[in-house]
């Protein structure tokens, strides 16, 4: 039985475009906010995970690469990776880093810190990324946020790709901070129904 294709089955293309754009102009990183706000909006107002289930371009990309293109060992994900403490621990870590990124943006906006045209991978490795931005195009804090946010997106993509290769295509979904957050919201909303 062939399943009917929906327009949103092609959102993996959006994921590729998003990451590609970041190599040309870092300001496109702001589009990533869609991937932050839409799932939360759907969870808060709709009380479901329609985003994770059907709209997540990143998840679809992992399915394509790991499933259709067989770039995955397809081994079972270690238990601890989907355990509560790891999922919530990673969520807290991720949000802390997000907060730190917002704070850096604030510092640049307030003039206490200067714009750094680099991205930081795995919250550790600084990679010069200056060719994607011409100084003075926008306010410094807008650019700073772009670099910071793109770092976060790229880091999580790389983490997702690593676990995709090692385990199942969508092992990332087991501890994806957005997924943990939206499922938490849904559980609260539905009160165990």
């Amino acid at each position: 039985m062939k399943k009917k294709k929906h327009w949103y089955d092609y959102l993996w293309i959006w994921a590729i475009i998003y990451f590609a754009l970041g190599f040309f102009n870092i300001l496109f990183a702001w589009f990533g906010m869609i991937d932050f706000l839409v799932p939360l909006g759907i969870a808060i107002f709709g009380g479901n995970k329609f985003f994770c289930n059907h709209l997540c371009g990143r998840g679809q990309l992992f399915s394509k690469l790991g499933g259709d293109l067989k770039c995955s060992r397809n081994k079972s994900t270690p238990r601890w990776m989907s355990s509560k403490w790891f999922k919530y621990g990673f969520l807290i870590f991720f949000l802390t880093m997000f907060g730190n990124m917002v704070f850096q943006t604030y510092l640049v906006g307030a003039g206490a810190s200067s714009l750094r045209e680099a991205i930081k991978l795995f919250w550790t490795f600084r990679v010069p990324w200056g060719w994607t931005y011409t100084a003075g195009t926008v306010a410094d804090w807008v650019a700073q946020f772009s670099f910071g946010f793109y770092s976060l997106m790229l880091t999580s993509l790389l983490l997702g790709l690593i676990v995709m290769v090692l385990y199942k295509p969508r092992t990332w979904c087991a501890f994806c901070p957005m997924g943990t957050m939206t499922q938490g919201i849904c559980k609260l909303k539905n009160n165990g129904k």
Partner: protein, 66 residues
């Protein structure tokens, strides 16, 4: 009816929806973003969902005769 049927461990399910997207018969769906639920009358026990589940919370079980 098929001998085997998929069974979800609700406690471990992350509601990612991979099973829902993999199932050829639309027999498994994510319930209100909380966990996946198998419609046992539709499930033919093919095991595709169990194989694709990233947290391995779907188990194929012998169907209990009703």
């Amino acid at each position: 009816m098929a001998k085997r049927v998929a069974s979800v461990d609700k406690k471990r399910c992350v509601a990612c929806g991979v099973c829902e997207n993999t199932c050829p018969l639309a027999a498994v769906k994510v319930h209100r973003g909380c966990y996946a639920v198998v419609e046992e009358t539709l499930c033919v026990g093919c095991g595709k969902c169990a194989k694709s589940c990233p947290v391995g919370c779907i188990e194929m079980k012998e169907r209990v005769a009703v």
